[in-house]
Structure formats: C-alpha cells, structure tokens
C-alpha cells in the first residue's frame, strides 16, 4: 500500500514541478519567477524525502536539509537583488 501512495505522491510533486516550469517560462514579472523557483525548491525537498522512503535509507534527509537552506538563501538573495540592486549593502 505504501508503494502506491509513494508513487501517487511522487507523481503529484512531479506534475507540480512541471506547473512551476510553465510559470517560470510564462511569468509576466520577476516576482512570479522567484516564487516559482522557491516552489520548485520545496517540491524538490519533498521528492528527496519521498525517494529516501522509496530506497529505505535516511541519507537523503541531509540532502533535503541542505537543499532547504540553499533554497532559502538563494530566494532571499534574488529578491534582494531586484529590490535594492545589490545583495549585501
């Protein structure tokens, strides 16, 4: 039963990644693109955790934690660059 639930969740987050890619390509202004990239990072975290359950190993937990931190820093840096024209003043 867990296998089917895993496949369902992986499919959901994969389709979500495709939706985010469409919004990045289409997005009328930079804020939409930053938001899509941030959502992409969150979907990738969920996919990493799901893959860890699929392989029955906890190694991917560290990878998910690192992706979460790098994603937050990159989102803040990108919006700060648009906001002030500079990342660290």
């Amino acid at each position: 039963m867990i296998e089917y639930a895993l496949l369902f969740a992986m499919g959901c987050f994969g389709i979500g990644l495709l939706f985010n890619l469409w919004r990045i390509a289409r997005g009328p202004n930079p804020a939409d693109r930053i938001l899509s990239l941030d959502t992409m990072v969150i979907n990738v975290i969920a996919l990493l955790v799901l893959y860890g359950i699929f392989r029955e190993t906890q190694i991917y937990y560290e990878a998910a934690m690192l992706v979460a931190m790098v994603g937050f820093v990159s989102t803040v840096a990108y919006s700060r660059f648009i906001l002030r024209g500079d990342i660290i003043e």
């Binding site: 867990i2 499919g11 359950i53 803040v76 919006s79």
Partner: protein, 131 residues
C-alpha cells in the same frame, strides 16, 4: 510492519501529495501576481509537512525508534516561508507599484519598500549636523 501503521503512512503521503499539487496548480491558475503569492507559500509547506511526518512514522516503524529530526526541515520551512513571501511581495511592489497607489502609513516615515529605514535617516541627519 503493522497494517495500521501502513495506513497512517499512506494517508499522510496522499495528503502531502494532494497539498503539493494544489500549491503548484494555484501558481498556474490564479490571475494576479499578488494572488499567486498565496498558493505555494501555504499549501506546499503543508505538503512537505505531510511527507515529512509520513517519513518520520515510517522510519520510526522500521527502525523501532521514533526520531524527530525530520521535523527540523518542517520547522525550517515554517520559519522561512513568511520571510520569503515578504521579500517576494516587496520585490513585486518595488517593480510594479507606485508609492502614490498605496494608502498612507499614518506614521512619520513612509513605506519601507521605497524609503530608507527611519533609524538610518536619523543617524544620517545626526552625522550631517555634526559635520
């Protein structure tokens, strides 16, 4: 692994997947940029939260000891989601809105997107007076 644990893990996985796809679909479906800010920052953190709780229960069941370090990612996302939403909204305001469109702040200083922070200007004026 007991059947009731498998059912609980599967329910959390399905809830996480549904919330994840709803968050990403809202990014496509909603019309306005400020509306689109609503969908992913709430629903996707709930989706990741469901997946991480499922992972916690699953590894607790197959290893015999329940560990809570998966909740660190959820805690980190809960802490950072409002900050990223605030920054994205501010960058949208800086690019697409004029200060005359916004209501008055009813404070001695203006909106932080367009004006310098009040502490900074006072310090600059003090430095100017000392010069």
């Amino acid at each position: 692994m007991a059947l009731w644990l498998e059912i609980i893990v599967s329910v959390f996985l399905v809830i996480g997947g549904v919330f994840g796809i709803v968050g990403s679909f809202g990014l496509v479906k909603l019309r306005d940029s400020m509306q689109r800010l609503h969908a992913p920052t709430k629903a996707t953190t709930l989706g990741v939260g469901g997946v991480l709780i499922a992972s916690m229960i699953y590894f607790g069941a197959i290893k015999g000891t329940l560990s809570f370090h998966e909740l660190l990612i959820t805690l980190f996302l809960f802490l950072t989601a409002p900050i990223t939403a605030n920054f994205i909204a501010k960058s949208f305001m800086a690019r697409n809105m004029k200060p005359t469109d916004l209501p008055d702040t009813t404070r001695p200083y203006g909106w932080s997107v367009y004006d310098d922070p009040p502490g900074d200007t006072e310090m600059q004026e003090d430095a100017r007076l000392e010069d």
